[in-house]
Subunit: 364 residues, 2 copies
């Protein structure tokens, strides 16, 4: 897996061009590109521009309905349920979180649950939208079923990330993590490298410890059984029932409150059906937002300054690594897998886009 280094601005322009050719307006293309590139710039390659080909495929095979419009099916001054009618995840996500932000600014809180959607990128993108407005932002999503519940052998929950972001100095708090031990993306990386999976990540179709990445991925896609373990592993000894519980929280906020499809019913044939949630909370519900932010920042600094384990030099607070990755990659470019570039080239060629005019001549 060789990588090339790509400049942020160059990829942004190319991605905008590709998505506009796929049928999105300029504004829509910018939102989708923004979600994907934030992931790459934060160092989360699995949810970055390497997903472009998957969105392309989802449009071609009818999983993403390009001509559908979302619809607000239930609304109060502090909540809403939105049916995305199988439209694009990023677009309804951007709309829904901005609506939650508006509610939180006016009425203290905004709680929105979305059904019948598609993959929306990293959950943290939406949490950060609220954080950038001085609010606490939370977002969750379900996904294709990949998590096997404790004692089970068939995936019944998604990767089901929970993301939360909250203003702090000098770094905002930004936590975005799947409730599985690892995401499907990490299993894909081991598959590409042809290496056995670490113990405690997955189980095979028989419900036994699995180490064959290709087998695990095939089983997930074909719904043969097996999948990725909840955070905490296969048994209660290290708390697997807790990861399963956090996965349930994401499921409740996303697919239960919206009365949408639970993970085990999504991604069957051409059906997507992913569900999300978007929550914004105004800290002024609890006092002076600046005082709360200062109090939080003090604690985060105490965490970073606390004594390190043997062999460790830093304790990170959540969001710190992402801020550093972003700064570095803005300066030096970010790594893109050569296969991703090749996949993009095929799409560019189909639409008559001169990829080289954006990314320069790449030695692939």
């Amino acid at each position: 897996m060789a990588y090339v280094s790509i400049q942020y601005e160059a990829m942004k322009k190319l991605s905008n061009h590709v998505f506009s050719k796929l049928g999105f307006t300029d504004d829509e293309s910018k939102i989708i590109t923004d979600v994907l590139l934030m992931s790459d710039m934060y160092g989360i390659e699995s949810h970055g521009v390497q997903r472009m080909v998957r969105y392309y495929n989802s449009i071609k095979n009818g999983r993403i309905h390009m001509d559908s419009k979302w619809e607000i099916v239930h609304e109060t001054p502090i909540s809403a349920v939105i049916d995305n009618n199988h439209g694009t995840g990023q677009l309804v996500g951007h709309f829904a979180m901005n609506k939650a932000i508006e509610m939180a600014k006016k009425n203290g809180v905004g709680l929105i649950s979305v059904r019948n959607s598609n993959h929306y990128g990293i959950a943290g993108y939406y949490a950060k939208l609220a954080c950038d407005e001085g609010l606490i932002g939370i977002s969750t999503t379900n996904s294709e079923a990949i998590m096997v519940p404790t004692n089970g052998r068939v995936a019944m929950l998604g990767s089901n990330p929970i993301a939360i972001a909250m203003p702090a100095k000098p770094y905002d708090f930004f936590f975005d993590a799947s409730t599985t031990v690892v995401t499907r993306g990490k299993v894909e990386v081991y598959n590409k490298k042809g290496e056995p999976l670490p113990e405690g990540w997955t189980i095979n179709a028989a419900g036994q410890a699995g180490s064959d990445a290709q087998d695990i991925l095939k089983n997930i896609d074909e719904k043969n059984g097996g999948g990725i373990l909840p955070l905490g592993g296969a048994t209660e000894k290290l708390g697997g029932h807790k990861g399963y519980g956090y996965g349930m929280i994401a499921e409740i906020l996303s697919s239960i409150l919206s009365q949408g499809l639970t993970s085990n019913h999504t991604h069957i044939g051409a059906l997507g059906g992913t569900c999300h949630s978007f929550i914004a909370i105004n800290p002024n519900l609890f006092g002076d937002p600046e005082a709360i932010k200062a109090h939080f920042s003090t604690y985060l600094e105490e965490l970073r300054q606390s004594p390190k384990a043997e062999g460790q030099t830093r304790i990170y607070t959540h969001g710190e690594k992402e801020v550093e990755a972003y700064a570095l990659r803005l300066k030096e470019g970010f790594p893109v897998n050569e296969n991703t570039i090749k996949e993009m080239k095929v799409i560019c060629d189909e639409y008559g886009i001169d990829m080289e005019s954006y990314l320069g001549k790449l030695d692939i």
Copy 2:
């Protein structure tokens, strides 16, 4: 560690009597007893009547201020911050969740953060109060610092449980778990048994894997360093940074929004200072509560009915074990450690309570 079986009604009456002698009103004693006994009846011995002696000690050593009154320091129609002025955790918890319930019934949601409190029992008790009213209930607390952040060697977060309960048939969903791999209570059990701790639970004062329960507990009490690992373990490989992140969520809701003491500053000398949160969400914010409940119940049943791993016969949904434990223990009594009985006897003797008249003659 020998156990005796005690009848629920008998212990309830005895506990009410003891707490009234400790200076609580009858109503207050009933609330405290109710919190402790729900824990025993749910099979969570660590937070049950075995804690009576700890509350007794906290009153005697001045950690619990018996004559203080809580005070609402900030309030909106959907939120509040309460300063418990170092009063009893269960009492402010009961008050705060009922206030959140009232807000959620009237205005859709109630978000309450409490500071300067004391140990409040199991977080799930408060989540269940809301669930019993048809709402989604959430409660979190911080605690004495026991969780070591990823890469650290000093405990900086508490056990920091997150509890959530939501109406469903035939069992309500009830999830209550510390964000550490295990609670301090489990380490205490290994200490009493004199057995080495399982790998992946704790680290010692040098920040290395620990297995000596007595050493770990001593280090926590004396703040020597070391402690219990976050869910996911010591490194990022199995997701330790995720458990640390969930711990942070509990800290944000409890000690940050209330501007109270973060876990690393609580429990120093006679100071308690625990912080909690209580959230009630009305499902009618998202549509017909009965339809949402039915949708949720279908998913929970699908989970329970899904194929089992080799050697497993049941998949549990969260709350199922607790309901079964409660029914069984109501019929057959619940187990109480003989040491707990002996500790209670000392307190009973001090206040002239005839323990035998409540529990019968016990063969200890």
